[in-house]
């Protein structure tokens, strides 16, 4: 508790040690740092935010229990991801996953009519608890999206922003599902490449 002020300054490894030793504020910081990852991932895997919150509860419970033995052979982020996948897989919803609710209607403009994809993306998932992207990072994301080949961009926007299934995207774009799958994957790979410092290993960076 008295270390609370310092928790947010610790890197993940330091947090893991402190939390493993019972520092509640360090654990809270872990939840703060990685809760979004857990929720985001679980939401994708289970298709429902409510189920994702269930899973998040389970995940952090396990993390809390597991921290004393966490040996850092994987990063905290990686470990938490694994716990999340496992918890999702064991969730009763796993085998009868519902697709994410569409966040926009199929009647809305298709990707080719959407000139400002990033704005739409931000809109589509904006919620009270979202933390706005810094202006600079936002600009870079926009730029990275803009540099994508159009067919990749259409696919990833429909997926990320529209929450459409591959099948729906395929119908929308008039391509095969396999093509959608590959375009989305490639779009992601390129975005990750362009935004590498923002995407990966965030746990190494002290805020």
């Amino acid at each position: 508790m008295n270390r609370g002020a310092g928790s947010s300054a610790l890197d993940d490894a330091g947090l893991a040690v402190a939390a493993g030793e019972g520092d509640a504020s360090a654990f809270e910081e872990i939840v703060r740092r990685h809760g979004g990852l857990v929720l985001g991932l679980a939401t994708r895997l289970l298709g429902s935010r409510a189920d994702a919150e269930d899973v998040a509860q389970e995940v952090f419970l396990r993390v809390h229990r597991g921290l004393p033995s966490f040996r850092g052979d994987a990063s905290l982020r990686t470990w938490i991801t694994q716990v999340t996948v496992n918890a999702a897989r064991n969730h009763h919803r796993w085998s009868r996953r519902r697709r994410l609710h569409l966040t926009r209607s199929l009647d809305e403009p298709a990707a080719e009519d959407a000139p400002a994809p990033r704005e739409k993306l931000a809109d589509a998932s904006a919620g009270p608890e979202r933390l706005a992207l810094s202006a600079e990072a936002g600009h870079r994301v926009e730029e990275a999206l803009a540099r994508l080949p159009e067919e990749y961009r259409d696919a990833i926007v429909l997926r990320e922003s529209g929450g459409l299934s591959y099948e729906e995207i395929a119908a929308r774009l008039g391509v095969r599902i396999g093509t959608v799958k590959s375009r989305i994957a490639r779009a992601r790979a390129r975005l990750q490449e362009a935004l590498r410092d923002l995407v990966g290993s965030r746990e190494e960076v002290s805020p």
């Binding site: 509640a24 939840v31 979202r130």
Partner: protein, 415 residues
């Protein structure tokens, strides 16, 4: 199915992330990711990328959610809250008592036609076991225990009834328990040394337990049953008739009650037990504390849990064994050391946990034996309690059957 699978390429991982893979492939990748740091990291990157595209700096939950999650975890994990720890242990211990009773009842029913069990000598031992399983409840912490105990007695009786009913249905040759081991065995084969033994014990346990009603051998400790019944039945109530009574009404509601009785805490313990072998090999789980136990003891123990959908993909409910070793700290804390179990645990989150605690291996220089191991099995018609063979025969052929079951009764501690 738990064999090391090649890492999925980026496209497959991406499709996995989107939930766009067929179930079998999805399961396989999930399982892989749980053990592969590189793929897990890639998956985390996908989630972060989504967050960036959504205009978030990093995926972050709201503050209120953070606090809620953090508090809930700390509270129910309870690794630093002796009260929670004790309570959870009490639940586990009461489950153990319940399991002991289940075992007794199984044997009992077999002997129902024989001399009334109620007339058998009073067993001092059974009480000792129950007492030890419960530990020494400290002031204010034993509140729920006796209730849980009674409830378990009740459940145990019903579970046993159903189990026997199931066993009878499973006429020779048709028993799912005999046909099923294929999947788990294959799993065990893929793994290192210990699990094979556990696997053997598990199969033997199941087969043996199911064989019980058909087999004849009496338990070496018939006396103990009388006591367990004495504890669970009103005086004068003939155990056999009680069993028959229960047999008449194994309703869906009973099953429901039984399931409901398995608390979230137990579920969570199961999750933790399963987490360690999956992600870290052997490790130390968050400390659990039992108050009132002499510090400095080693407690060999077994965590049993029942996978929700059977071990692995078999779909046949099978109890899995996690072997654990406890180290009692001077402050009364209990660390769970060296947890190991079949790899199938990685894919099997149990809905029930039975912590069948072995007694301390040594206590003030006195060797102490494992008392009993048991598990519940969920089958189509409900939950069934199983009493499993003692560790001494682990690895012995399945043929051990009823005799082995007799052996593992609490009386075996003087072995």
């Amino acid at each position: 199915m738990t064999a090391p699978v090649a890492c999925p390429d980026h496209e497959r991982l991406s499709a996995f992330y989107d939930g766009e893979l067929p179930p079998a492939e999805r399961d396989a990748i999930a399982e892989h990711v749980e053990g592969c740091h590189a793929c897990a990291s890639g998956l985390a990157d996908l989630a972060t990328t989504s967050a960036l595209l959504a205009g978030e700096d990093a995926p972050r939950p709201g503050e209120d959610l953070v606090r809620r999650l953090a508090r809930a975890s700390v509270a129910s994990s309870g690794s630093r809250r002796p009260q929670g720890r004790w309570r959870r242990f009490a639940v586990a211990a009461s489950l153990l008592v319940g399991a002991v009773l289940v075992g007794r009842l199984v044997v009992m029913q077999r002997e129902a036609e024989a001399p009334s069990v109620a007339e058998m000598p009073r067993p001092v031992e059974e009480r000792a076991i129950a007492g030890r399983a419960a530990g020494a409840p400290t002031a204010g912490e034993d509140v729920g225990f006796s209730d849980a105990d009674r409830a378990l007695d009740d459940r145990a009786a019903k579970a046993t009834t159903r189990r026997d009913a199931a066993a009878r249905r499973e006429a020779p040759g048709t028993a799912p328990s005999e046909a099923e081991p294929a999947a788990p065995a294959e799993v065990a084969g893929e793994r290192q040394a210990a699990p094979a033994r556990e696997q053997g014990a598990r199969q033997r346990g199941l087969a043996g337990a199911r064989r019980l009603p058909a087999g004849a051998p009496a338990t070496p400790e018939p006396a103990a049953e009388a006591d367990s019944l004495g504890r669970s039945q009103p005086p004068g109530d003939a155990p056999a008739s009680a069993l028959r009574e229960a047999e008449e009404s194994p309703s869906a509601a009973d099953t429901e009650r039984f399931n409901e009785g398995l608390s979230r805490d137990e579920h969570a313990v199961v999750a933790a037990g399963q987490l360690v072998p999956c992600l870290h090999g052997a490790g130390t789980l968050a400390a659990e504390t039992v108050q009132g136990i002499t510090p400095g003891l080693h407690l060999p123990a077994w965590l049993w849990f029942l996978p929700e959908d059977g071990v692995g993909d078999g779909g046949v409910p099978t109890p899995a064994i996690v072997e654990a070793e406890y180290l009692l700290g001077a402050d009364g804390s209990v660390d769970v050391l060296a947890v190991s179990g079949p790899p199938a645990l990685a894919s099997a989150l149990g809905e029930a946990l039975l912590l069948a605690r072995g007694e301390p291996a040594t206590c003030a220089g006195q060797p102490i034996e494992v008392l009993v191991r048991a598990a519940y099995v969920r089958e189509a018609d409900g939950w069934h309690g199983e009493l499993l063979p003692a560790d001494g025969q682990a690895g012995a052929p399945v043929e051990a059957g009823p005799a082995a079951l007799g052996d593992e009764t609490p009386s075996s501690r003087d072995r």
